[in-house]
């Protein structure tokens, strides 16, 4: 990993939820620049809510700082402009739009003239996207849609990429391929990644560090290789 000494994401005392139901009870965690960090936990632990709070999709309290800049009470469209891209659970493509429009809309906040060349790079990396660029995103297979959703998010040239259960509903071989790609993208572009994942072994395989979430609080944290070897965690959370 090419992590530096700069903190990309700093979260202190994060609370949030849906209406009267509070899901997060004060989380403290951070992600270094260039690092891949994974958040593990059982269903209902608050993993998705954590990402939704960071990207401004839900009401939250606590301090969130992105690359030293306080996010405050900004909502999703402004948080994207601070360099945070979020691939939500369940693909997060725009199914009725063409593949090409999905990539183009990913660059919605950009004003530079390199959007087309960035799109070409994705078409090079994923020829299937080029073959189907005029087809609706909803017609792609699950794995292709997930890759398109990631490409769509990276088209905004984010500093921090939030990935919510990218493995959900995908065949194991596609999932391991996908995680290999995440590691490559991280190496090539230096994009910092915060990954929420049920597939703990795979996620810890590419991550530098991990946090384990339980009932909206951080239960434990540590370097990925230590978490993988921790017997209690293996039994309770990793199902290994």
């Amino acid at each position: 990993m090419n992590a530096t000494d700069n903190v990309m994401l700093d979260v202190k005392g994060l609370r949030g939820g849906y209406g009267a139901i509070q899901v997060l009870h004060g989380l403290d965690f951070h992600v270094m620049e260039g690092e891949i960090v994974v958040i593990l936990g059982a269903n209902g632990a608050g993993k998705t809510t954590t990402l939704r709070a960071i990207s401004g999709m839900i009401e939250r309290t606590g301090a969130i700082t992105v690359a030293g800049e306080a996010v405050g009470s900004a909502k999703a469209p402004d948080i994207v402009r601070k360099g945070v891209a979020h691939v939500p659970q369940g693909r997060g493509t725009l199914p009725e739009l063409s593949v090409e429009d999905n990539l183009r809309v990913g660059a919605f906040i950009r004003k530079d003239d390199e959007v087309d060349s960035d799109m070409d790079q994705w078409f090079e990396a994923y020829p299937v996207l080029r073959e189907r660029k005029n087809q609706r995103a909803g017609s792609l297979s699950g794995g292709e849609q997930q890759m398109l959703a990631v490409a769509r998010a990276l088209m905004s040239r984010p500093r921090l990429l939030l990935l919510d259960e990218p493995s959900l509903g995908l065949a194991p071989i596609i999932v391991s391929d996908l995680f290999e790609r995440f590691a490559e993208i991280n190496k090539e572009t230096g994009t910092t990644m915060l990954v929420v994942e049920q597939n703990a072994q795979l996620a810890l395989g590419i991550a530098a560090r991990g946090y384990v979430l339980e009932s909206g609080e951080i239960f434990t944290e540590g370097p990925a290789d230590e978490l993988i070897d921790d017997d209690a965690i293996r039994k309770a959370y990793l199902g290994i």
């Binding site: 997060g92 725009l94 809309v105 990913g106 919605f108 609706r136 699950g142 769509r152």
Partner: protein, 296 residues
């Protein structure tokens, strides 16, 4: 035979107005899956603005129509911001009630300002016929209505497919949450849809009452809206091309099927509703509509 030809042309030119109003409904439905029941009244009000600009302020007719479209777009944008946006877009019942309230309010305001008497409206197309065959004739008016819907359909297609705001609008129509996550501000994007819809509706009413045999009055679009909703549903509610096909089809049903079946003219409105019911029963997505894409 000649009567049939005349009825076809009548049906097409009536259908053009339903098509334009249906396109306006489709613009809002695509983005919000909401039917704006005040769309016809927006359009009627816009028609009165055009009438004032042309007959009272002396603007050339097409300049008056374009300024009237812009003014009605601005009014619709203000209404969207103040009366629609404060409500949860996913909860349709309050929004439907608001559009019904707007229907009554705008109709009443137009009645207070301009009274309920029919008014003359400037002609937008040359008078006379392109050709005559026996008793059958194709008027410039009918040709003008066809050209108008073609230009509007082309313009909307370009706007939606070739501009950044059009891309944002289509994104919001597809998935609200993913749109916000790429940085699209949903409120102003929907407001854009309301503004465009109002402008198209105003053009629809202007074209309708520009016919030498019609006049402008506050009730002009009360039944027109029902025809337009039927047209939009027939076309599939989210398809601009479908709105045109649906509008023309409803216009033809009204002018051909109704008289030949001997349906009393009082029931011609019901004929539109009957078409609507049949569509909803047998082809709920309409003729050209997209069945919802499964979101995994």
């Amino acid at each position: 035979m000649e009567l049939l030809i005349n009825r076809v042309f009548d049906g097409l030119s009536n259908g053009a107005t339903y098509a334009l109003l249906a396109m306006a409904l489709v613009m809002i439905f695509k983005a919000t899956t909401l039917i704006n029941f005040a769309q016809g009244e927006f359009a009627m009000f816009g028609g009165f603005i055009v009438m004032v600009l042309v007959l009272e302020q002396g603007l050339p007719v097409w300049i008056g129509v374009i300024v009237g479209m812009i003014l009605s777009a601005v009014l619709a944008a203000v209404i969207e911001r103040t009366l629609i946006r404060p409500f949860d877009p996913a909860d349709h019942l309050p929004l439907v009630i608001i559009t019904l309230g707007l229907f009554l309010a705008i109709n009443a305001i137009a009645g207070i300002v301009w009274r309920f008497d029919p008014r003359a409206f400037p002609e937008m197309f040359p008078s006379g016929n392109v050709f005559t065959y026996g008793n059958a004739s194709l008027s410039w008016y009918t040709v003008g209505t066809m050209v108008t819907i073609a230009v509007v359909a082309g313009g909307l297609t370009l706007l939606l497919n070739k501009t950044k705001i059009g891309l944002a609008f289509r994104a919001v129509s597809s998935n609200l949450e993913s749109s916000e996550l790429v940085g699209i501000r949903v409120g102003p994007t929907l407001q854009f849809g309301w503004a465009i819809a109002a402008a198209v509706g105003t053009l629809g009413v202007a074209v309708f009452v520009a016919s030498p045999v019609r006049q402008l009055e506050p009730q002009v679009m009360v039944t027109g809206l029902i025809f337009a909703v039927s047209a939009a549903a027939l076309g599939g509610l989210d398809s601009l091309g479908g709105a045109i096909a649906g509008g023309l089809a409803i216009g033809l049903v009204q002018s051909i099927v109704v008289p030949y079946l001997g349906v009393p003219s009082e029931l011609s409105l019901f004929a539109a509703v009957a078409v609507l019911m049949l569509v909803l029963l047998f082809k709920p997505a309409g003729l050209f509509g997209t069945a919802a894409v499964e979101r995994v």
